[in-house]
């Protein structure tokens, strides 16, 4: 909201510099976010919080400035009496919806001469960004920015039957507002109508037909109070807001309606040469019970942690309009009418006391220790999550963070079923229309981005939530995805190598070893991965995740022109199976012996079968079976491959004899020949 420093000083005769005042207002909770110098004046941009509807005008800010500068508030004085005339009629007003319009006042001003406003008035309203229209409209705007009371002036002679009815709109009723838009109304919108049609959307905007113009002779000046919720609802429904609706939504001081109306009438009579009847129309609730709140001084001290005395309380609250009585035990505080919307409870008063006392003056203390335990299951998940992140970073993977909201198309591209996805009812755009049920789209997006910016060798992971519907419920759970493409790091000694699926398998094996999970792989299928390039990651027969070569057709749809290898991990199985507790396994000090077996086998024999067959042959003395080399060139026959396997022998309880090892080697060679028709070389 804009506040003119010069205008403000009409009500607080202070010499405080604009910048200092801005600083003090900020520290009092009225944050001045900008100061603009304009023709010798300073225009403050003030962020008024929704609770301070009293500060949406110059008098309101002046009241705060008066408390800050300790200068008396000087409200404008006026005298309406000289403009009273007998022949002016009193308008007829019917209030049908007192609940939505607690109070409605109207005054008829006759013989007005509509003309441009005097310079001083134009200067004032222009300083706060209001466009001058004519003297009548400008005065209503001036009063709004002076007192916070929205006013509306109708051309009285254009009101059918010279009548005002405050009622609900009929469904489908229409009105063209002063900004020229035709608005279709519905049954719960409060309108100001004449005998026939709506002439204003109550508290929001007036109608074009009854607008005050050059030919206007008699005006009906409305000063009313409308129900904030009703105004807000209508304003939102119609997509229509104004300086008036902004203030009504936040609540106005209904006890100052008459003052505002009289002051405006006075200005109109003076500037536009009008006259009015002594009596005005005033329907609805006239008296509002003053609010008295009990305040316990000890509670103030306790909640703020500051030694605030009773006299601090009194001297703090008085300048901002509160009346404080009683000193011992409980104080009684009378809330001024302009703070009724905001100050309802003791806590609200304590805030006012703290605000005026100054947050800076409240001491800074540390609480006596409050130690809280985390839920054991959460502690465990947190440890595992951190460990995964650190281990993957250690293995050369960069962590990424991608948006949880993606487009439905992103999911479809991956051939992943989108039947269980959660849609957003009011998305910003289709690009963020659904919640992701897989991390892969984000992964591929990041890969594409980096390839396009000249970094084709990428290793990424993300550990974030995915979202899906399950049995009618909305679920969210963390997921872990890894992806890589391009080459491994190289240097002058070691040439970079093309990454492949085995790189990722190795990473997964190492990662899960660190987490105490012994994984193995089995061929599998996944809609996003090549049919002959997909493996399930298992632990104790449970599916821990999936790893594979991303389908070329999917990469094509994502504009990626290189092979991508990816894995997605089910974190529930991960959390359940991780073993974080370390317990030393005895180091076996008996010597190890290494023996090689070289063979050629048909291409369709999986290495894993050979591996298992070897281990099963001499389980108790084989420590490890390692694939040293695969070769396909001559002398290996076509359709076959050569495998060089290195077996490490070691016993847990003795030194192995040469003969034992040779016997095992013989058995292995025999088994390989029998089971796989392997040619031992």
């Amino acid at each position: 909201m804009k506040i003119s420093y010069e205008w403000l000083r009409e009500y607080v005769p202070t010499k405080i510099k604009a910048k200092n005042l801005a600083q003090k207002l900020t520290m009092n909770g009225l944050e001045v976010t900008s100061i603009e110098e304009k023709a010798g004046d300073f225009i403050f941009g003030i962020e008024v919080t929704p609770n301070r509807s009293d500060c949406l005008c110059h008098v309101g800010i002046a009241r705060e400035a008066s408390a800050i500068t300790k200068k008396r508030l000087k409200l404008p004085s006026f005298n309406l009496a000289p403009y009273f005339a007998k022949g002016v009629p009193i308008p007829e007003v019917v209030l049908r919806k007192a609940k939505l319009c607690p109070r409605y006042t109207a005054r008829l001003i006759a013989d007005v001469k509509v003309a441009p406003s005097p310079k001083w008035l134009i200067k004032r309203i222009e300083s706060v960004g209001v466009r001058p229209v004519n003297n009548i409209v400008d005065i209503t705007n001036f009063i709004l920015h002076e007192t916070g009371q929205p006013l509306h002036a109708f051309d009285y002679d254009k009101l059918i039957a010279n009548k005002i009815i405050i009622r609900l709109a009929k469904d489908g009723e229409e009105i063209t507002t002063i900004d020229g838009t035709k608005v279709r109304l519905k049954g719960d919108i409060l309108v100001i109508a004449d005998a026939k049609t709506p002439v204003a959307i109550a508290g929001i905007m007036g109608g074009l037909n009854t607008e005050v113009g050059p030919s206007t002779k008699r005006i009906l000046l409305e000063a009313a109070c409308f129900d904030p919720t009703s105004i807000r609802r209508s304003s939102r429904y119609l997509g229509l807001s104004s300086d008036s609706s902004y203030r009504f939504e936040r609540g106005i001081d209904s006890s100052k309606i008459i003052d505002a109306s009289d002051r405006a009438t006075c200005l109109i009579c003076e500037i536009a040469k009008g006259k009015t009847h002594r009596e005005k129309v005033d329907v609805g609730k006239k008296e509002i019970k003053t609010r008295v709140i009990n305040l316990r001084p000890h509670k103030v001290k306790l909640l703020l942690g500051a030694k605030i005395s009773n006299s601090d309380i009194k001297s703090g609250l008085a300048p901002i309009g509160f009346k404080v009585s009683g000193a011992k035990g409980t104080m009684k505080v009378v809330v001024p009418s302009f703070r009724r919307a905001d100050i309802k409870r003791e806590a609200d008063l304590i805030e006012e006391i703290a605000r005026i006392y100054g947050y800076d003056n409240i001491p800074t203390k540390l609480p006596r220790v409050v130690i809280t335990e985390e839920a054991p299951s959460f502690k465990r998940r947190k440890r595992i999550t951190n460990l995964v992140r650190k281990a993957l970073a250690g293995l050369g993977f960069d962590e990424i963070l991608t948006y949880s909201l993606i487009s439905k198309n992103d999911i479809r591209k991956l051939n992943v079923p989108d039947i269980n996805t959660i849609s957003i009812r009011n998305p910003l755009s289709d690009q963020q229309g659904v919640m992701r049920n897989t991390l892969l789209p984000g992964m591929l997006g990041a890969i594409n981005y980096n390839i396009n910016t000249g970094n084709p060798d990428i290793k990424l992971f993300e550990f974030s939530n995915i979202y899906f519907r399950q049995d009618g419920d909305y679920q969210e759970s963390p997921s872990l995805a890894l992806a890589l493409c391009g080459n491994t790091a190289g240097d002058w000694k070691r040439k970079p190598q093309r990454t492949d699926i085995f790189y990722l398998k190795g990473i997964l094996k190492t990662l899960f070893e660190k987490l105490g999970i012994d994984i193995y792989f089995e061929e599998s299928q996944h809609p996003s991965f090549e049919p002959d390039g997909t493996m399930a990651i298992l632990v104790d027969n449970k599916m821990l995740g999936i790893v594979g070569v991303v389908k070329t057709e999917i990469l094509a749809k994502t504009d990626i022109k290189t092979q991508v290898f990816a894995a997605e991990i089910n974190t529930r199985v991960l959390f359940e199976n991780a073993r974080l507790e370390k317990f030393l396994k005895t180091i076996i000090r008996y010597p190890i012996s290494e023996r090689d077996v070289s063979m050629s086998v048909n291409n369709d024999i999986p290495f894993e079968s050979i591996n298992r067959a070897i281990k099963d042959t001499a389980r108790f003395i084989i420590k490890e079976v390692r694939l040293v080399e695969e070769y396909k060139a001559r002398p290996v026959p076509e359709g076959q491959r050569g495998l060089l396997v290195r077996i490490t022998y070691q016993s847990k309880d003795r030194t192995l004899k040469e003969q034992e090892i040779e016997t095992a080697q013989d058995l292995i060679r025999k088994k390989l020949t029998q089971e796989f028709n392997a040619a031992i070389r």
């Binding site: 520290m27 944050e31 919080t49 929704p50 919720t229 807000r232 939504e249 909640l303 703020l304 942690g305 500051a306 609200d348 304590i350 805030e351 703290a354 605000r355 947050y359 800076d360 409240i362 001491p363 800074t364 203390k365 609480p367 409050v370 130690i371 809280t372 985390e374 839920a375 959460f378 951190n386 992140r389 650190k390 970073a393 250690g394 050369g396 993977f397 960069d398 962590e399 990424i400 963070l401 991608t402 948006y403 949880s404 909201l405 959660i422 957003i424 009812r425 910003l428 963020q432 997006g445 981005y449 980096n450 910016t453 939530n465 979202y467 909305y474 969210e476 190289g490 240097d491 002058w492």
Partner: protein
């Protein structure tokens, strides 16, 4: 015997000195220190010596033995070094091999750092769902359905009464419903608001919420805890400034500024010449919130605070565009 030992020592030292190859040296070693070597021969005769000479001679023999071991080791090193002909010296100025290490995302780093500071103070980390009820996100936090205070909380809806949380505060409600004070928690997590993406806005971002409820917790404690937090995060020299503000779920409420970490409060481009940077919102828990969770014992009071993690990470790491966090450019990620 002493003389014999001395002579052996001199002879051995001279032979070590003259040895030119590893083999020659090994022969010297075997000759003097081997199992059947000269030193072993002398030492084997010590037991038959007069009682009073035994300790002295034993010690001397051991000293000489030790000396010879050391000299042989030294000589061995010399020989090895000599063996490398000058022409084959390595060019040590060639670069070392490359290794790659991955990086933790700056938001994760900032989240962890923030949570760890509070954990050290005794706070527990608690999480809550991102898909949240309208009640927990709004009404229970004293944000009425049709009220202007809701304007700043535009929200993504999934269906009636179910939405993507627009702040981490609903976890306060969930926690207070299940636990009795005293407690102190921090809540990290993702939040969503339908803001169009630009350099300072994102429809998804991260927050850390804090809540401490106990007997006698005051605004002074809020100031104390946040000052300690600010110092741990930004450095001991920073100052904090508490400004009155409005949040529906706290009363009194404050916006908290930190003295600009770039210019130390003098005024610069980052702080728009103000010397202060807004970093979080805070306040004393509003009685309406206590009522919503049925915590009616007035002796318990508490404070709550909330901060945007992207904002903090941007200030701390000098990042000027929030979109960088979600672009995942490796040239960005690799700097953390």
């Amino acid at each position: 015997m002493k003389e014999e030992l001395d002579n052996t020592k001199e002879a051995a030292l001279s032979e070590i000195k003259n040895a030119r190859t590893k083999d020659e040296l090994e022969n010297v070693r075997i000759k003097y220190l081997g199992r059947k070597g000269e030193m072993a021969g002398i030492i084997s005769r010590i037991p038959s010596m007069p009682q009073e000479e035994k300790p002295t001679m034993g010690r001397l023999a051991n000293e000489i033995k030790q000396l010879l071991i050391e000299e042989i080791a030294k000589k061995k090193n010399e020989i090895i070094q000599l063996k490398v002909p000058p022409a084959e010296r390595m060019d040590l100025t060639m670069p070392g091999y490359s290794f790659q290490i991955g990086h933790i995302h700056p938001i994760t780093r900032a989240l962890n750092e923030i949570c760890e500071i509070f954990t050290r103070m005794g706070f527990a980390v608690v999480e809550g769902p991102e898909i949240e009820t309208e009640y927990n996100n709004f009404e229970a936090l004293n944000i009425p359905l049709e009220h202007p205070s809701r304007d700043i909380f535009d929200t993504f809806y999934i269906r009636d009464n179910l939405l993507l949380r627009s702040h981490t505060s609903p976890v306060q409600i969930r926690y207070m419903k299940k636990h009795s004070p005293p407690f102190a928690i921090v809540v990290p997590g993702k939040v969503f608001r339908p803001d169009a993406v630009d350099a300072s806005h994102s429809f998804m971002f991260h927050q850390v919420e804090g809540l401490m409820i106990a007997e006698g917790i005051s605004f002074a404690h809020l100031k104390g805890v946040l000052l300690d937090f600010g110092r741990q995060l930004f450095g001991e020299e920073i100052r904090l400034r508490f400004r009155p503000h409005f949040f529906p779920f706290t009363e009194p409420s404050a916006e908290v500024d930190v003295s600009c970490i770039i210019c130390k409060g003098k005024g610069c481009r980052v702080c728009s010449q103000k010397g202060w940077l807004e970093i979080l919102g805070a306040g004393m828990v509003d009685p309406a919130v206590f009522k919503a969770v049925n915590l009616t014992d007035e002796k318990f009071t508490g404070f709550a605070f909330g901060m945007g993690v992207e904002r903090i990470a941007m200030l701390k790491y000098g990042i000027n565009d929030i979109r960088l966090f979600f672009e995942n450019d490796v040239r960005f990620l690799e700097q953390f």
